[in-house]
Amino acid sequence: MRRAFAVSAALLSLALLTLVVVASGAQARSEHAQATTITLSGWSAGKVEDDLLQTMVNDFNKTHPAIHVDYSVINGDYATAMTARFAARNAPDVFYVDSSVAPTWVKQGVLQPLNSYIKASKFDTSKFYPGLLNAFKFGKSIYGFPKDWSPLATEINVKMFRQAGIRTAPRTWAQLAADAKKLAASGVLPAGAKPICLPPDWARMLAFIYQNKGSLANVQSPAVAAAVNFYVGLVKQGLAATQQQLGVGWPGEALGKEKAAIVFEGNWLLPYMHDTFPQVLMGVSPMVKGKVNGNLGFTVSYSMAKDSKNKAAAWTLLSWLTGKVGMTKWMSLGLALPSRTDVKAIGGRKAFLAAGPFSHGWGFPNFTATYTIMSNDLQAVMNGSMTTAQMLSDVAKSLKG
């Protein structure tokens, strides 16, 4: 008797639960009954940024009643997670694409070319910095619009510079070497510190290569070799050290811990220094210049999945986010720099903005394999176990795939 009661009670509550779930689901559906639901994803660059994007999505949903956007962050290794989503034909409709993976994803055919949408909606592409847009342009097809970006700048420890009697941050290669020598000789550097922190990383050295009129298209040219030798030479002369040699994780930490007086980092260094090392007085100047100005643009696009089932709605979102209105909202907190010339950055970003016209998007064909070779070979060149020519030959071979 008792058992029968227990069973029927369980069945009844199960039935009630089902009813509640179905009813609430129906209600949720009816709210967006007319709206097309699309998904938006990216990696998380901190809670502040996630919240800002969620606010923007809410704004979009309010002003576009026909479309409902679901924003979700992809945690963990973004490229790996997205690869799995692409393979499962289950990618978000609109998502972040880093300029470094763009060539691979375009080659794999998982990104939607946007040309027909651009034409149909008369979207003005001329407002974007060409160097940044080119990172997502392959042949005549555009596969995404840069949502924001950052170039490199020269960041210095102002106190050390003053103590060494140097008035301004270095602007040229010659000044860089001269200032480093002065800093080393002046005795203002604490024990174990070096004037400059230079990572064994082409994501820094390539800027110097562009400054020497070199490029990846002709990576075995004398101009490239000379730039590499200048960069590596600073380390070999003891004027610079890698972050490993200084015992830090990255050059920003070296600047913060006063283990180096000069580093070359992007906009991301500013909030880091503000939050982690507020006591260090930092000066930000435009990136040093060689024969010409040259810089790297670290940029991320909003792109559309080729498999998206709601491409029209996805384009509406994408063009709003990267349009003047969306990007102006996105810039309100100063987390990044605008990739459009008609949107202003918040104050104090002059040193970065100046690099817009001569920045090259960071990315190249066969990226992962080539970047692996670049990183490892550059370490070998720095420790003297490989020649510059050997490294450039390896890189040239890998770039060809």
Binding site: D77, A79, T80, T83, F86, A87, V101, T104, W105, Q108, G109, V110, G192, P200, T242, Q244, Q245, L246, G247, N366, F367, T368, A369, Y371, T372, I373, S375, N376, D377, Q379, A380, N383, S385, M386
Partner: protein
């Protein structure tokens, strides 16, 4: 167990010759039914991916699937890739050093703990503890300890960045893994040590055999099954090194390729470059190498076990 068998065979005998075959079939049927579920899981998650992986290795294969057949070109690609060859060299050096080190360390700790000392339960847990902590967490801590201005350098003097120097990075991982894994090795040796009959030790004591001689002539040879097990299991584990290299080098296998391993190569090739064909080929090469190595170990060290 013995009783059950007797009853079963008795009942079978009583049932007569005709239904004996039927009973056997029925018994076998139940047996197969019971192994069906585990086999289905094994087949779905091990055999099927293995065979599928071999299949993929003969194709150009992208994120969206098969592109076209390329014969053995993927194998050609990886064997001509200096990064893959370097990763093989690294993993061989690593395994040859780390496995004996883990075995020696594990055996030493097991012997100490097996001796009748006070607080052995405490020591046993302490030595096993590192094995329980996530390798990512341990590696992250070791990066700080082995930094240029880390604890190790503070103790021994000097300013070498152990993970930043191509001549020491792989050996730093050897040290780190020998320390974390020795506890698990110890458990296996401890179990084996406790299964050795005390009679042989008593006989040796009566004959007046010294401690050293007792260890080398009695304990060590009698631990042969444990040696074989540890060698195979931890040898395979060492060949699959991935997380520590990935973390200390941020996935680049650096400095100067010194921590590049085949599994890191597979990961980068498949999930970063989206070239699943060469990645699958590298996986097949690893599978064949591990398979042959295990057969070889079985034929040499594990001969008495197999027989």
């Amino acid at each position: 167990m013995a009783t059950t068998t007797t009853t079963a065979s008795e009942s079978l005998r009583r049932a007569g010759r005709g239904s004996l075959a039927g009973a056997r079939i029925r018994e076998a049927g139940w047996g197969y039914l019971f192994v069906l579920l585990p086999m289905a899981v094994f087949g779905l998650f091990f055999i099927y991916p293995l065979v599928y992986g071999i299949y993929i290795s003969f194709f150009e294969w992208g994120i969206l699937g098969k592109v076209h057949g390329v014969g053995t070109a993927n194998y050609h690609t990886i064997f001509h890739d200096s990064v893959f060859r370097r990763s093989i060299k690294n993993i061989v050096e690593y395994t040859v050093v780390v496995v004996p080190l883990e075995m020696a360390l594990g055996l030493l700790i097991a012997l100490v703990i097996n001796a009748k000392i006070r607080g052995r339960a405490f020591f046993r847990s302490s030595f096993y503890f590192p094995s329980l902590v996530s390798s990512a967490a341990i590696t992250a801590i070791f990066i700080y300890l082995l930094n240029a201005d880390g604890l190790l350098n503070a103790i021994i003097g000097g300013n070498r960045a152990w993970f930043g120097d191509p001549s020491t990075a792989l050996w730093a991982i050897v040290g780190l893994n020998a320390w974390t894994t020795a506890g698990t090795v110890m458990l296996f040796y401890l179990a084996a040590l406790q299964s050795i009959s005390t009679d042989v030790y008593e006989a040796a004591a009566v004959d007046g055999t010294g401690t050293w001689r007792t260890f080398w002539r009695i304990t060590f040879p009698l631990l042969k099954p444990a040696h074989f097990f540890v060698l195979v299991v931890f040898g395979i584990g060492a060949l699959k090194l991935f997380d520590q290299s990935f973390i200390v080098s941020s996935g680049t296998g650096g400095p100067v390729y010194s921590t590049y391993t085949p599994v890191l190569y597979i990961y980068n090739t498949a999930f970063k470059s989206a070239e699943f064909g060469p990645a699958a080929a590298a996986g097949v090469v690893m599978f064949v190498a591990i398979f042959l190595l295990t057969l070889f170990q079985r034929a040499t060290v594990g001969r008495s076990e197999a027989g």
